[in-house]
Symmetry: C2
Subunit: 291 residues, 2 copies
């Protein structure tokens, strides 16, 4: 198994163990069960892996990094729960399982998503994360990545694009995706440097390239993927006539762009030497995955 | 005009001026307009006033307190936008104006609420708020007040009560309201002490009593109020057969309980002497208001 696959598997175990501990303390109301269900639904934990791998690169104690790793996974889970709502993407399945509003109801899905966002900020601010400077910095940067100039803006632009007169241009779709998926990936990759109060430039460059490659790969998967492996409906964008990286660049052009971005990402980590091999493999993984 | 009414009016101006500044920087997408609309819809700003008044009691520079004051108003606004959704309370009007999902659409209401929650945490973590210890403490305490063991839990219990076999007991409804409205009021009143890194006990006792009095007064208003002054549908709880403080204690009993809680609240501030007069008047106001 590659270094990355080993590290990803370890990250997944650590994150899910921490979530088990967190949800055992929360209570047993439907909203608590829905939060746990949304967080523990077989996700790859790539974002949490970036946090833990970036922390390891900077010799940060994993006990300090696990909170922020769970924070970004909780934030990602909240965005999926709300994204799946009937008034948004209206998806019944997520990773092959009923979505939260199907398994419970819409009100529980709205509230569980809301509370998962809150949990993300709580997990960044816990004393175990480290010095107050670090906790305030992680909170502020997460808010900027997740809010109305980051992820939520990307989602809003995505919805607006569906009723727009003309398909988006490459520039517009790149800006949209920088918000919708890029901002959280960037926060994840930079969090390790923030935990160490170190320079975030190299990890930031890595993350911007990986984030865009990730989205291009998603668009490729939407066209070429296997629904059973992906665990969700595919070809949705093509069916809806939406512009995607594939529709704009062609399948080969999209693959070339993604490959070039992965090279950029790997080069950005040269200062870390061999220690960054797991993150380099992670960058290659995002364009080779099947789900 | 009373000291409290003067201070509340000043707080409202300061908070709305700060929101104007914040929203001017955000952008002009529908989600941004909806966030601004939800935050600037003529609210009383009681929660923001508590933050500013508590800060003044501890000689905290108002320039440090305005961020947390806007934070709690943004968080409150988010909870109202999501609460008004068709899958929750399904309200078309809020303070006499169309609710966000009526004026825009449900997707925009979900996203605007989400981004207002994010904004609340950003505003607590900004450098202008003060030392990193203070910012991390405000963030952590806000997350605990707003999340699945605070406000969201209260909302979830409220929804569960609607389909319960039996009306709630006084103990259950007190626990529900301690989450649904009490947790944010408590955070608001304690924030000034947190900004000064001072003991929060007196303001916390004040806030617990005021928060419960506030909810009892809401239940009284729901029965005796004027819809035009309240700017929303009344008698909803009675029509729905839900237990309220009025149905459990009777109208006179509810009024006596609220009055007694206001005395408890005022007494808790004795250590602050005359400087706390505005907060004492605020406590009396919550049971005399008409909206």
């Amino acid at each position: 198994m590659s270094v990355f696959m080993q590290d990803l598997s370890q990250a997944r175990s650590a994150i899910e163990g921490e979530f088990d501990r967190i949800f055992a303390q929360l209570g047993q109301e439907p909203v608590h069960q829905a939060m746990s269900y949304a967080c523990l639904n077989g996700g790859k934990r790539l974002r949490g892996f970036y946090v833990l791998a970036g922390a390891a690169l900077h010799d940060v104690d994993p006990a300090r990094a696990i909170g922020p790793a769970c924070a970004i996974e909780a934030l990602h889970a909240y965005s999926l729960v709300h994204d799946d709502l009937p008034c948004m993407d209206d998806d019944d399945l997520r990773r092959g399982q009923p979505t939260v509003h199907i398994k419970w109801d819409e009100a529980t899905a709205v509230l569980a998503g809301d509370a998962l966002q809150t949990l993300a900020f709580e997990l960044c601010a816990l004393p175990a994360v480290g010095a107050a400077e670090v906790r305030a910095d992680l909170t502020l940067s997460l808010a900027r990545a997740a809010g109305a100039q980051g992820m939520v803006l990307g989602q809003a632009l995505d919805i607006a694009a569906e009723s727009a007169d003309a398909p988006l241009t490459l520039e517009q779709i790149t800006a949209l995706q920088a918000g919708k998926t890029g901002a959280l990936i960037q926060w994840s990759a930079e969090a390790g440097a923030r935990l160490a109060q170190a320079d975030t430039t190299a990890l930031g460059t890595y993350a911007q390239a990986v984030g865009l490659a990730f989205q291009i790969a998603d668009d490729i998967l939407d066209v070429t993927g296997d629904e059973a492996k992906a665990g969700k409906r595919l070809q949705k964008d093509a069916d809806a006539g939406k512009a995607t990286f594939v529709s704009l660049l062609g399948l080969d052009g999209a693959r070339r762009r993604a490959t070039s971005l992965v090279e950029t990402a790997c080069d950005a980590l040269s200062g870390y030497g061999d220690r960054a091999e797991s993150l380099r493999e992670a960058a290659r993984f995002v364009i080779s995955r099947e789900s």
